[in-house]
């Protein structure tokens, strides 16, 4: 028998693994995903990924596919890292680069592009169910939610160490900072907590918002369904009912910015992004005035409710109404400054257990703390603050790191290969799938931690692998392909590079780019109606339709009504943590590509661009379009079909204007090409 070159070390891992599994069978706490990371030291450096994968391939009698051709590779990498197709000049340069490091340099260039954060930040935004609206019954616009969105994009671009990124989002406002700018950035990061969904018409249902935060904390960082423990101990995973309320207390001790509800239309508790001096001399005095006014309004409201009908009550009602008008006048004189949709500290309290999840039926008080399965240092008995900073520290502590690292490694892997090493990216608990390649997962998790949690290190390592650079199944002869597909139909062993459809964002951005209309500048806030005009409620929720030519990551995303294009092409639902998007194929998508007026207009703009240099139809027109959209020139058959098609369109066009005829014909061709599988899929 031929042995694998790293047979020994792999064997060690497998044995350790098996022993761990056996030793802890029946012991609920000792999940594979909680275990210390098993690091296998392999020789061969960057080839490590392939070494692990080859072991699985060998067992099945399979092999990697031959390397992808350069055009396929540059299209794949460019979409993967930036969500945009490569420009013709970039393809040309890559093809011309004969040095062994050409692909590495390509990857470095793309990782340094600002568009990298726009694509990979979006993956994170899927997970934290980012939206520009509150999600309550009025779906209130949140004018400064975008600060958090851009923070995420910037953080990915800056390759912020992942552990740091986690800490900032949970407790940025409590972290030390070296400058006012950094302080503001850290505050904005806690927008992660503030964007939790809001419910109902009043504030009474805030326990649901806290549940939503806990759900997301558990899912996004740890891939654990912590929220299942709201009513009882988790049925499958080692999360107790007490654990849930230990976390609950921390969030209950946190003040979330309030976006407004049907009953209380005015936003409050946003965190001012100003200097300490401005805070003390301008903002705090103003806020005190508003607070006094609110107290007065509430006093008068109670008065109108308690005194019996009659003259006295009428007077009170008049006074009450006047107090409300005064509040409006006061707000009109409000100092102007940027306010982050973020969190701040509230009065520290321990939560009481909601018996069977019922917030009106309170049980024992639980000290604030974390998940007990990770050890006994979980409780914060005398925590003088909310406990968010200890929570952030705990999430990134050595006890939790193995899970934290495995989860993010799996997500990054999945976004490159379509499927994670753990196929349930949001569930690393008992009900989730086991990793297909546990040693590889741990190898990368170990590497991530030891490379200062650099995600860009992880990208480089993955993109350097033979597994990533291999070709798609179309390059295989049919016998090899059919055999491999029979043995491993889901390609779990990665015998070929999997094909994927363009995401909603990639499709829209590609169309805009090709038409010459993409605005590449980063987006900021949205053109929401001004706050004083708001009157949103369950029957009249905010419904926005805001046009933009910026990249899709900057489009306004609403919770109650989803963006029609984005949802048709499977963009994430901003109500739930999406770890992996669906990839549907529907007639509604086909209808969009056939009949959407905006798409038609953009195709016309594309045709104009294509014809701006050439007055007449030439093969260059087709080749230019084909290369820009597929990264490959049209072959002979495709070229002939395209040319014949365009000519026929011109012939059949009854109008007198020759120039417009050609333009219309080319626009039609462009629409067809963009609708084809050549463009819609990356492989």
């Amino acid at each position: 028998m031929r042995r694998h070159p790293h047979f020994e070390s792999i064997l060690t891992v497998v044995v350790t693994w098996a022993l761990a599994v056996v030793a802890h069978a029946g012991d609920r706490v000792d999940f594979w995903s909680f275990q210390p990371i098993q690091f296998t030291r392999l020789t061969g450096g960057t080839a490590a990924i392939d070494t692990f994968l080859q072991q699985g391939l060998l067992e099945k009698g399979l092999h990697f596919s031959p390397a992808a051709d350069r055009r396929t590779l540059i299209r794949r990498v460019t979409y993967d890292l930036t969500g945009l197709p490569p420009a013709a000049s970039e393809i040309k340069a890559f093809l011309a680069d004969g040095t062994p490091d050409a692909t590495r340099r390509l990857v470095d260039r793309l990782l340094a592009s600002p568009h990298y954060g726009e694509r990979w930040g979006r993956h994170w935004l899927d997970l934290v169910r980012y939206a520009d609206t509150s999600g309550n019954s009025g779906d209130f616009p949140v004018p400064t939610a975008w600060l958090y969105r851009n923070y995420v994009i910037d953080a990915w671009n800056a390759d912020r160490p992942y552990d740091r990124f986690v800490r900032e989002q949970v407790a940025g406002d409590l972290l030390p900072s070296n400058s006012l700018e950094e302080r503001h950035r850290n505050i904005i990061a806690t927008g992660y907590l503030a964007i939790s969904r809001r419910f109902g018409v009043e504030e009474k249902q805030f326990h649901l918002t806290i549940e939503d935060t806990i759900t997301n904390l558990g899912t996004a960082f740890l891939s654990l369904s912590v929220h299942c423990a709201r009513c009882h101990d988790h049925k499958f995973d080692p999360v107790t009912n007490k654990d849930y309320y230990a976390l609950y207390g921390i969030l209950q001790s946190t003040r979330y910015a309030f976006p407004g509800t049907e009953v209380f239309q005015s936003p409050k508790d946003f965190v001012p992004l100003v200097s300490v001096r401005e805070m003390e001399t301008i903002i705090q005095p103003f806020e005190r005035k508003v607070k006094e006014q609110d107290t007065e309004i509430e006093r008068l409201r109670q008065l109108t409710l308690t005194i019996p009908p009659g003259e006295k009550r009428d007077e009170a009602v008049v006074e009450y109404q006047k107090a409300q008008q005064d509040r409006v006048a006061l707000l009109e004189s409000a100092p102007q400054y940027l306010k982050a949709y973020a969190v701040s500290e509230a009065k520290p309290v321990n939560a009481k257990i909601h018996i069977q999840g019922n917030p009106h039926d309170l049980g024992a008080e639980v000290p604030r703390g974390f998940l007990s399965a990770f050890g006994d240092d979980r409780v914060l008995p005398d925590e003088p603050a909310s406990g968010r900073l200890p929570l952030a520290n705990w999430l990134t502590s050595p006890r939790v790191q193995p899970l934290l690292a495995r989860v993010i490694v799996n997500r990054i892997w999945q976004h490159h290969f379509g499927t994670g090493l753990v196929r349930t990216p949001n569930n690393f608990g008992a009900r989730g799938e086991r990793p297909t390649h546990p040693e590889l997962l741990d190898y990368l998790a170990h590497g991530l931690i030891h490379h200062q949690w650099s995600i860009k290190w992880l990208h480089r390592r993955i993109l350097d692998s033979r597994a990533y650079r291999q070709g798609g199944d179309s390059q295989l002869d049919s016998r090899t392909r059919d055999r491999a597909a029979e043995i491993d139909p889901n390609n779990l062993s990665l015998w070929t590079f999997p094909r994927r459809r363009l995401s909603a964002e990639e499709l829209r951005d590609t169309i805009l780019l090709f038409s010459g209309q993409l605005d590449r500048t980063p987006g900021k806030g949205h053109a929401f109606p001004p706050e004083h005009e708001w009157k949103f409620g369950q029957h009249t929720p905010y419904i926005g339709s805001l046009k933009s030519k910026r990249r899709s990551v900057y489009l306004m995303r609403q919770r109650v009504k989803r963006h029609p294009f984005l949802s048709t092409f499977d963009a994430a639902d901003p109500n739930v943590a999406t770890g992996q998007r669906a990839e549907s194929t529907t007639a509604l998508q086909a209808l969009w590509l056939m009949n959407n007026p905006v798409f038609h207009a953009l195709a016309t703009a594309s045709a104009r661009r294509l014809l701006s240099t050439a007055r007449h139809l030439s093969e260059d027109v087709v080749q230019h379009a084909h290369t820009a959209l597929t990264s490959h020139p049209a072959d002979k058959a495709e070229l002939q079909a395209a040319m014949a098609y365009i000519r026929q369109c011109v012939l059949r066009d009854g109008s007198a204007d020759e120039g417009r005829k050609l333009e219309r014909a080319v626009a039609s061709y462009v629409r067809v090409l963009m609708s084809s599988n050549l463009v819609l899929y990356v492989e």
Partner: protein
């Protein structure tokens, strides 16, 4: 001559690119087509299914499963909670006399056409999982939905409409996983229509008919060439099929959604024009029109996952259940009557269900919690014993005491009524055969004609 034939004949004369019928409609590798009607395992009574799914968990003990003992013990302790008596009285319906609460006065009149199951059981207490379970048979991860299995097994007799349509104004728990094809060929995924004034965007052609046809022809040439070396990927053929369907839908969908062809009497019957019933009435009427046109599986979802605007009445059932019931009661009764009157009920299976029932004890002050251990669903139409009540729960409605029908049994029975053996209807995926009913499920023969 229908539009499709017109299209074919038009292109039969084109010299530029000699087309074949297959090429025009989608490539020859799929013309034989995943949506061609397939042969059933045996003769089934039902040709199509309308699934009426009530989102959020309907209280069985306040709709179809009367519990006098629960009323009598109202306020008494039940564990740490208290028994909560039903908020509505029950009255016998139809000649069979099956008692139905005052929440469903119209459906009550149809009990002679309905086979009521009072012994349903699900496996999960949370909405998302239970909703996924009733839709896909899987209470954990996404699997192909019931509608997708029906589309896969039955195909479509109308190539201009999707074989599986979901009329859902809002997303249910689990979102579009509820109508996902998962590992079945993607073409069997449900097409969701938001049943409002703008049911389906981009339905109106911009290009002239002639141009659009040529565009689709070129598209299929490109796709077919692309597909040639990528035969293992069903998504690519499904993409072609999706354009063929979309082309037909441009005409077929406005037609099926156009209720102006219905009589005033029909509109009134379904409660159109009435604020409470208009929305679901439209969904029901469109469902009947889709059945007439050969759509295989039509799911109507009454509302979404936004509690308490669905059936998830934790705190206040008397406030939250009535508007939901009012919205669907008359339209559902109208659908049954209308199908029957047109002779369509004999070959249409109407299924009414929710994801789980609600607890006999209170949750909030006058609300109830989730209860997967017992709930009620019903079937009507093709092959089902009408006027029958099947199964029973204990005197409070906590547990099934007689003839339990697990969700897997429910699914097995539905497939049986369509002519398919749930153990034989499999799809090979990941090296093994998958079924809608996993490794469980028994056909409930007692409720079949």
């Amino acid at each position: 001559m229908d539009r499709r034939q017109a299209l074919l004949s038009l292109f039969g004369g084109s010299l530029l690119i000699p087309p074949s019928a297959a090429e025009l409609l989608a490539g020859d590798d799929i013309a034989a087509g995943p949506l061609q009607p397939k042969n059933p395992h045996f003769a089934g009574k039902a040709k199509s299914v309308i699934l009426l799914y009530m989102s959020g968990g309907v209280s069985h003990i306040e709709t179809f499963d009367p519990k006098p003992k629960l009323a009598a013990d109202h306020g008494k302790p039940s564990g740490v909670k208290q028994f909560l008596g039903p908020h509505w009285s029950f009255r016998p319906g139809g000649e069979c006399g099956a008692p139905v609460s005052d929440l469903f006065p119209h459906v009550r009149e149809c009990m002679d056409d309905i086979c009521l199951i009072r012994s349903m059981r699900a496996d999960h207490i949370s909405h998302m999982e239970a909703t996924l379970g009733i839709h896909t048979g899987s209470f954990s991860v996404k699997r192909p939905s019931l509608g997708s299995w029906v589309s896969y097994s039955m195909g479509s007799v109308n190539q201009d409409l999707p074989s599986f349509v979901v009329l859902a104004p809002q997303l249910p728990y689990g979102g579009d996983q509820c109508w996902s094809a998962d590992f079945l060929p993607a073409i069997h995924q449900g097409t969701r229509i938001v049943s409002s004034s703008d049911p389906l965007p981009n339905l109106t052609p911009i290009a002239s008919e002639d141009l659009q046809q040529r565009e689709l022809q070129l598209l299929e040439r490109l796709n077919r060439k692309h597909r040639k070396s990528r035969t293992a990927d069903s998504r690519l053929a499904a993409r072609s099929q999706s354009f063929a369907t979309a082309f037909g839908m441009q005409h077929a969908m406005p037609d099926v959604l156009d209720l102006s062809q219905e009589t005033a009497g029909t509109l009134q019957l379904y409660g159109l024009g009435e604020e409470a019933t208009d929305a679901f009435g439209r969904q029901c009427l469109v469902a009947r029109r889709m059945v007439e046109r050969g759509v295989r599986f039509i799911e109507l979802i009454d509302t979404g996952s936004n509690a308490p605007n669905n059936w998830d009445s934790h705190t206040n059932i008397p406030r939250d259940h009535p508007p939901r019931a009012k919205a669907v009661d008359q339209p559902i009764a109208a659908l049954l009557q209308d199908l029957k009157q047109r002779g369509l009920l004999e070959e249409t299976l109407v299924v009414w269900t929710t994801e789980f029932g609600r607890t006999p004890h209170n949750d909030g002050p006058v609300g109830r919690s989730h209860h997967p251990h017992a709930f009620s669903s019903w079937l009507a139409g093709a092959g089902v014993r009408a006027g029958m009540t099947y199964g029973a729960t204990d005197e409070y409605g906590y547990r099934v005491t007689e003839n339990e029908v697990h969700v897997h049994d429910f699914h097995a029975t539905i497939l049986h009524l369509l002519g398919f053996d749930h153990e034989q209807l499999t799809y090979r995926h990941g090296g093994r055969d998958f079924r809608l009913t996993d490794v469980a499920g028994n056909v409930v023969h007692d409720i079949l004609v």
